[in-house]
Symmetry: C2
Amino acid sequence: MEVFEEISPADFFYRNRDIAGFTNPTRAIYSAIRELVENSLDACDLYRIKPEIYLRISQISSRGEGPEVYRIRIRDNGIGVPPEAIPSAFGQVLYGSKYKLRQTRGTFGLGGKMALLYGQITTHSEAVIISSTGAKKIYEYHLRIDIQNNRPIVLKRAEHENADRWRGTIIEFSMEGDYTRAMPKVLEYLKQTAIVTPYADITFVDPRGRLYRFSGIDSAMPKPPTETLYHPHGVDVETLNRLIKSTRARTLEEFLKRHFQRIGDRTARAFLEYAKFNPKRDPKGLSPEEVVALANAMKGFDFLPPDASCLSPLGEELLEAGIRKELNPEFVSALTRRPSTYSGYPFIVEVGIAYGGGVQASGGITLYRFANKIPLLFDEASDVSWKVVNNLIDWRRYKVSPDMPVAVFVHICSTKIPYKTVGKEFIADRPEVEREILNAVREVARRLSLYLSKKEYAERERRKLDVFQKYLPKIAEFSAKLAGKEVPDIRPLLRRASRIEAA
Amino acid sequence: MEVFEEISPADFFYRNRDIAGFTNPTRAIYSAIRELVENSLDACDLYRIKPEIYLRISQISSRGEGPEVYRIRIRDNGIGVPPEAIPSAFGQVLYGSKYKLRQTRGTFGLGGKMALLYGQITTHSEAVIISSTGAKKIYEYHLRIDIQNNRPIVLKRAEHENADRWRGTIIEFSMEGDYTRAMPKVLEYLKQTAIVTPYADITFVDPRGRLYRFSGIDSAMPKPPTETLYHPHGVDVETLNRLIKSTRARTLEEFLKRHFQRIGDRTARAFLEYAKFNPKRDPKGLSPEEVVALANAMKGFDFLPPDASCLSPLGEELLEAGIRKELNPEFVSALTRRPSTYSGYPFIVEVGIAYGGGVQASGGITLYRFANKIPLLFDEASDVSWKVVNNLIDWRRYKVSPDMPVAVFVHICSTKIPYKTVGKEFIADRPEVEREILNAVREVARRLSLYLSKKEYAERERRKLDVFQKYLPKIAEFSAKLAGKEVPDIRPLLRRASRIEAA
């Protein structure tokens, strides 16, 4: 007979840490760094604080037989965590502030805890969390996670005076890892983060004490993302039931206007007529079948597309600045598309293209992928952008050949990125998303093509002029001799030729 | 200020159903079918019951504006679910019988519930579960899932007499889906399932009433997988702590022998000496630091590799039979490698190769991937087998060119398949796994190469004989005439030539 048992979510993710990116010591240290950096950036960005992040990894003397153990410390100047929320926010899986409709880097509320959990199961060490929201006190917690029960265990708690009104969060813990092998990916990750967050100051001290500094450019930060209401196309029966359960609206009309975006007086009435519901009905009085009918009608009715003002794209200027800052290319161009929508979620695609300079030829297009301002470094070939860049675009049409140093940057921001894994590595090929990326890449490819044409033309003209400059004096001399005349001054002629070229 | 909240695991997977394969109506219906079929096969295989599975999908009249709704019914003759476990087993996420060290198709205890959950959020319909363990009663439950609290809601419960002592489980529920678009993948999935479970009878009735029947071959079933103890290389501090918490062993020596495989009297003593622990110590008296030291020592000590007798590979004969049954190739060969191990988990790689017949030329090697007897159909390019077959093997060395109809089959079985996603689509490239696959594919490729050589030789000889047959009579006649003699009987000569060829 089969024995049945229940496991906690912490236990689930502990058993299946592979799926959150904690596969082996190399990948684990990369994932831990990434998740912590992203949480820190979120804690700043969401409140338009210019991020200043300090990350230090030090090797704890290897204990003989075992694998290498590292101490990780990260400090940010973000909004801070309220003291009462600290234990659960860091010691309980599926507890957090990110379970809402808002564009954030983190979406699963899982990554940071997985890092601490991995540290605990490999070193049994406790995590130290120090945080302040900028009020009078700084709070310090020493935590461990009770994995079987998914609860934080507070081992020590202290309060410190906050004379300077410091605000931010410090996390420190130990974990097994293989930094040496993870290093290339970690550095690439930080570099790409600097591209897509060009306004952030990131300092990284590696286990050998080498300091990497990514300085933020002096620029206005993008408008932070805001929480938003559901779009009627983005709800299912479950969501609808939850809203009905919690609403204070007394009529269907009021219910729709209060809990959904893009529904005002007129739309509410038009929709309810279309769906054949009495606007005065109490939403709590709907039968299960009526809720299903309402949900289906919502999908069928032609509402205005989701409002994208809640999103926080980087903007063309910042994206170009980020690319310039880290790659210093010969040519760069960025494009922010107008908002679009899939399944009731708004999204914005931004792309950049860069040529030459620090961009290396790689036998093809080098693809940089970003989602909600985080770089995606693994499983490239499964990503929708890879499909667009490698299968759907004929680069010859844009005068781009595989031996050229060309990089394409794709950034998608949305209240819900259609990731295919908890590890946040690649994006599903929703048709709407694919189409937006395709159109955007085509446009910047056209711009690059124009630049390359101009460059080619200039090159051709330069070569022509070279020929002129080489032979014209000789021809002049020869014909002059032949005609028995004096050699003419050909400099005005050459000047004219180069002027034509420069025009 | 950030607002923090807790969500239930059901809520987590509801919000992130993409990661379990429920991305869109097409993918959802494919995933639902797949998860249900796999649960049914597990319910048979684990008890060496020859699986008889009946699956029916019927379209419920489309409700006007909304998408298509299907009714799914699956029936198996498996072990059945005890009545008291039915509500949670089908209505509570992270509750199940698969959270142990055993080779099963399901590993996350998630898929079947996700199918019901998806049905509920798209149609609000209840799920009907009918099951019996073959005792006097058949139990019928009508269920819904309370997603916010991750608890089953029993809407109806009934008991029926079980005069025939029927044993098995029936699941019936409705869900939105796009069967038309999912159809090719669904049929491919069932066909590949028939390859890797050649002893199973699977009947499928599609929404148009078309019946697909995959008949099981008459053969002994493979020995079922069994639950196993941890191998010392496969534990971390958390596992060790749990075992210490629950053990009744009074000494470390006893503790090791009781809870781990490959540790007998001698090994226990040798290891404890190596790890510098007194064998008589009470495991419950270890300090946290000592537990860490013990866990690390376990990783460093040279134990015998994990015992693979708990695994249930298909075997060369059955794999060949499965390939023959569904593809009827001209040549087929299968190989089951000896057990190997990664991170303390035993695994066995089996591969097959097939040529011609029903195998189609595809411009390369057609790759069939299986893990614990389930086919993997998506994200092929991210799988370790794809890497082996497409990047690591030089097929020209085996006389295989891209225009040939060649298929490679890779099956991995293990107590823990290193999946990279909850959707169970592709396997991480652990070096140990990669090496096993590479060696196995090389071996069967050699066999194919030998077959192709023989075939080529035979072909060459046949052509030679053709030439003989065509010209020899003429030469004989001509020379006879020339010599003024009678035309000799050349048939014995031709016979001899063809005999040489046949040898």
